[in-house]
Amino acid sequence: MWKIVVRRLLILIPQLIALSLIVFFLAWLMPGDALRGLLDPSMPPGEMNRMREEAGLNDPWFVQYTRWVGNVLQGDLGRSLQHRVPVTRVIGDNMMNTVRLSIMTTVMLYAIALPLGLLAGRKHNKIPDKVIMLYVFTFFSIPTIVLALLMIFFFAFGLGWFPAMNAVDVRAAFEGGWPEFWSRIHHLILPSMTGAILGGTGIIYFLRNQVIDVQNSDYITTARAKGTPERRVYTHHVLRNALLPIAGGMGASIAAVVAGSLFIERTFTINGMGQLFFDSVLGRDWPVANALIMFYAVVGVVAGLLADITIMLVDPRIRIK
């Protein structure tokens, strides 16, 4: 078991190297460099080139690449052109908001999608299935911003149940402790519900078809032929087999949630990495943008790793000796 996990972790290394090369060349291709922000009309000619030389920006690419990797490994991602502070500091402020939003969205996503997908499959072609499929097809193609605005309109302005913006109440944040915690949850409900309602559609549809498939398979007939009560047929036989591919797709789902948070943060004005990403691209702040691309890519790779390990744990056919 552990051998496979270790082996899977080793595969991570070439993945990360390839990733870093892509990110590095992306930065290379982008106009301007880290010194451009320091450009000053009063600077004597040639001074810029001297500074470039000093900063090592005239070195061949592989020298720059190794230096960059070295820096990144030490947690130095360069300096933001807009904010004139290290990139890590700019990101650090926003990262926790995105992480909280993503976790909350993921939890809600599965909390909605798993029961609905299972129910629809089990009640195939009956009323529950039809209602759930109506939801799936309605929300499958709705843009995030439309649902986000609807949610704000009804639940924030209309009913006043949840706040429409920000990640936390300023006073609660100042108080800290439980008040801050509840305030954060309270603020996260609308944005994470938005993400979960939209992101859940694909999983519900997939899981439903999975259940329909599995419940018609021979081994389910065998289970029934043993005298297994209907409830247990589902909990012990259908469920695990139907969920297996969902576990396999977990990586992609988490990555999609994090990517989707880009738009949600923007609509709910949460200072997260999505917000930062927009700002940095619009403000041509390449070091920050690059660091964010790197972050998203690492999330994708790690989510894939998680999914692979989960599926190895649950599917005996994949456990290699």
Binding site: H124, N125, N216, S217, D218, Y219, T221, T222, A223, R224, A225, K226, G227, T228, P229, E230, H236, H237, R240, N241, L244, V314, D315, P316, R317
Partner: protein, 335 residues
């Protein structure tokens, strides 16, 4: 119903919904399975054997299947039982063995656990007792290393070993009736013989009845006591194995025997019957369903509403068209 009857099927009709309409795949079957007998059900692909077998244990998806008639097990109608009563019958009184051992077991459960599941629902054994019983069962079905197999997953076993495990699941709670639906079709020839020997041996060991569905008449001759021949959803002939082989009546039975290499009847020139079983939707629903497969026979030889004729005691045949054959009447050229 006599005392030695275990299962009595009365006017059973199993219909599947196709494009909003129900079509009967089993159409008015009457059968009696006696205690401690092996009852074979033969007929070509698509004639409704599996549909009938599954309806006995009510394993059809009720969303698109209708079952009518009666299936009396020890006098009680299975078709009108509550789900809880039915769950006592399934596995406890009737064990099922299916055609494809590769897909018949849950891929995520160990063999031992799958056998113990049957025991959980039909016995009060403790965990340790269940394990001991599962190991014993694995040994009885011929596993070389029961302790190893107990902890293995289905994908780690060969086809033959998987079918042995499926058999262990089916016999775990000592049911009085085993329904084996083409238990060897998916296996290669040497393994087929082993599995059939096993089934025969298990039954002679503990008694109990078995419904054996098969294409293979050699198998029928080998282990069955009585046999029913099915065509297009109906039983066209029932007899003891001896009577059926010695004196096949229905033209369809004759064609089946004729296509078996070793069974040379006096009527070697019998036609190789043309065509295949019609699909469910296009099944002839009136008159003799076999008529269109023997077009050289005059329509007057068939009954308008075919009935069963008891030609010798216990030997039943549907429709009068058998007579032409019994009299050696089929004079037309082979196809």
């Amino acid at each position: 119903m006599s005392n030695d009857t275990l299962l009595q099927i009365k006017d059973l009709r199993v219909s599947f919904r196709i494009e909003g309409q129900y079509y009967a795949a089993v159409d008015g079957v009457n059968l009696e399975i006696k205690k401690d007998e092996v009852f074979a059900l033969v007929g070509e692909s698509g004639c409704g054997k599996s549909a009938m077998a599954l309806s006995i244990s009510r394993l059809h998806n009720e969303n698109y299947t209708q079952c009518a008639g009666e299936v009396l097990y020890e006098g009680k109608d299975l078709l009108s039982m509550t789900p809880a009563e039915m769950n006592n019958v399934r596995g406890g009184k009737i064990g099922m063995i299916f055609q494809d051992p590769l897909t018949a077991m849950n891929p995520l459960m160990r063999i031992g656990a799958q056998i113990e599941e049957t025991l959980t629902y039909h016995t009060n054994l403790s965990r340790a007792e269940k394990k001991a019983r599962a190991l014993e069962l694995l040994e009885r079905v011929g596993m070389v290393n029961p302790a190893l197999t107990y902890d293995q997953f289905p994908h780690e076993l060969s086809g033959g070993m998987r079918q042995r495990s499926v058999i262990a699941i089916a016999i775990a709670a000592k049911p009085d009736l085993i329904i084996a639906d083409e238990p060897t079709t998916a296996l290669d020839v040497t393994i087929q013989a082993q599995i059939l020997d096993l089934l025969d041996e298990l039954r002679t060991g503990t008694g109990g009845s078995m419904i054996l569905i098969t294409h293979d008449l050699a198998v029928v001759a080998d282990i069955a006591d009585r046999v029913a021949v099915m065509y297009a959803g109906q039983i066209v002939e029932t007899a003891t194995v001896y009577d059926l082989f010695a004196n096949p009546l229905h033209p369809y039975t004759r064609s089946l025997l004729h296509s078996m290499p070793s069974a040379l009847t006096e009527e070697a020139r019998l036609h190789t019957i043309q065509g295949i079983v019609p699909t469910l939707k296009n099944l002839p629903r009136t008159g003799c369903r076999f008529a269109e497969r023997i077009p050289w026979h005059n329509a007057s030889l068939h009954e308008e509403n075919p009935t069963y004729h008891e030609v010798t005691p216990g030997h039943f045949v549907l429709c009068t068209c058998y007579k032409t054959f019994a009299l050696g009447g089929g004079t037309h050229g082979t196809a």
